[in-house]
Subunit: 387 residues, 2 copies
Amino acid sequence: MRILVLGGDGYLGWPTAMYLSARGHDVAVLDNAVRRQYDHELGSGSLVPIESLRTRIRVWEETTGRRIESFHGDLTDADFAYETIRRFGPESIVHFAEQRAAPYSMIDRKHAVYTQTNNIVGTLNVMFAMGELDRDIHLVKLGTMGEYGTPNIDIEEGWLEVEHNGRSDRVLYPKRPGSFYHLSKVHDSHNLEFGCRIWGLRVTDLNQGIVYGQQTEETALDARLATRFDYDAVFGTVLNRFAIQAVLGRPLSVYGAGTQTRAVIDIRDTVECIRLACENPAEQGEFRVFNQATESFSLAEMAKIVANSYPGQVDVEYVDNPRVEQENHYYAFTHTALESLGLEPHLLSDTLLTSMFGIIEQHRDRVDLDALRPTVRWREAISSRSS
Amino acid sequence: MRILVLGGDGYLGWPTAMYLSARGHDVAVLDNAVRRQYDHELGSGSLVPIESLRTRIRVWEETTGRRIESFHGDLTDADFAYETIRRFGPESIVHFAEQRAAPYSMIDRKHAVYTQTNNIVGTLNVMFAMGELDRDIHLVKLGTMGEYGTPNIDIEEGWLEVEHNGRSDRVLYPKRPGSFYHLSKVHDSHNLEFGCRIWGLRVTDLNQGIVYGQQTEETALDARLATRFDYDAVFGTVLNRFAIQAVLGRPLSVYGAGTQTRAVIDIRDTVECIRLACENPAEQGEFRVFNQATESFSLAEMAKIVANSYPGQVDVEYVDNPRVEQENHYYAFTHTALESLGLEPHLLSDTLLTSMFGIIEQHRDRVDLDALRPTVRWREAISSRSS
């Protein structure tokens, strides 16, 4: 199958591209390298050194004999988006190419506007290109479990059967996201569902949990195939951050009471979920939603798991919550669709954490401790931090 | 009360500004005149001649002795949005300043992207300005009944009590809008609800029905105070279009089977609803939604009402539906909030239509018949019509 991975230079895009390539698919990646640019802007960076996309692709071919084609450019440039799709002719498009950090979108007005316009316009361009060039292409779009917020009812997979005043309907699951970033994904989902209705597009929206881990079978083949490992308070996801704090002998910093519960997924399951979605496409006109997460834990539980599995002393500190979010809430979500397609989840285990501890130990000199401190506060409204 | 009307040069913005001014409020308008620019782009225009904003304001002062302040600029320019709010210091902001035609947003990719970025960024800038400068300002934001689509359950006012698997929650009413324009309003609503949560903003979201009519007490004071009257297939709303077709002796063109039902409201009720919302603000942190519509009719019923009230022969023709929409559907909506604040609805009556017929008769020579024909088709995906 010909699969185009948008954002194929990123934390998950690159491992996904290799995973699909290793399993016999013809893979191309599209990326504008803006994720590397955010590092320059924020003065942060991956804990694990990463190679340029060019080198990654070269090493992948040397190692496996398989080619990955590459298109450098920006999805918000419609001509580029159209031209890439026209030239590569994908059967599936996997769309990771969005600004993906909640705190980044909350830095100030400029970053909120950037996140929403970048994400929405990129996705609109892809939708229109599919609508105009080939309505048979299946779009596998990355969303997030954070779109749902923390409703007091069970979270279903994108749609909800509602009874009201004696009548019933199947409606898009009502969402109440917690950042301008999460909102941008909700906007995308609404736009895409409309595209399925008017143009008969095929779309799978993957509402992904918080990803942890840094290694897949393919990244482990050669150090130059490594994917990024973010630990800073803006781009670092919570479990990765806790693991780094443990190794460095710093207290694990839990926001607020730590009773907030979040859905999570192992990076090795992410790449398998993408494969399953591509190989089992949505129907013509179908807006299909999968909850791409396998377990859920409160932040305090996550801290405890990390502390217990680290072979040394670990403290936990509770810091003022920089976010505005419910701390005591119900949380239950359905995640049967991907499992019914064959996903066999990795569960958050000591084994995995141990491998993470080793990677961190190896690169501990690269850590900038300041970057771990949250500086973006949800309650502040700032037009532009630099002015 | 100091009230800033965003989009105060438009079809409804201008009558609203005068209505509020006449009732003792200190009113300022902000506009970038882009609605007049769309006329140049499309080669269309208001049936009734309209004056420049400068002349309108001058005549208003000559006629009533009341001043309306004016700020020329674009809301997507954050510095301008902030500066206007800082200088005028409004207690309420009424926000009409969005691209508001579904067919315009469906012309091609460029117009879809323009509509969504223009509407979303303008509203984000207003939200941030409120969050940073004065969280006590009450935002009265124009949405549309079209955001809901045509669900098989009763449409409530923005929120829905849901029972699911034995648990319950109050959630944002699930929406399934029918154009990139309608989607932009759904995106705004999600962003604004978040602003209420994180910054304690006060927001009233008015989901307005299709507006008909062209005269209010204030526009009737002087011909130079007239508001625009659109009849073209892009910006003309359905009842106004039918009335014009009747007067011109053209068949009333009903899209599809005409069984699609839509909520409507008289322009004289629109301005009163805005006054009621401003004078009864939402609470700090409250995202309040009113359905600003008073009746609903199928398109075929609307055609019949116009045909019956016109004193001459009127034919009705059924044309291929250029939109993708459900034609046979349930439709029932709640609209008690504004009535409980004191709204006494004008209902679609012969009286009003007769006054519309007179206005049309007076300007019939200005009609461009070609402009009545729908040319934008929902099923087509086009990157750029001009290329």
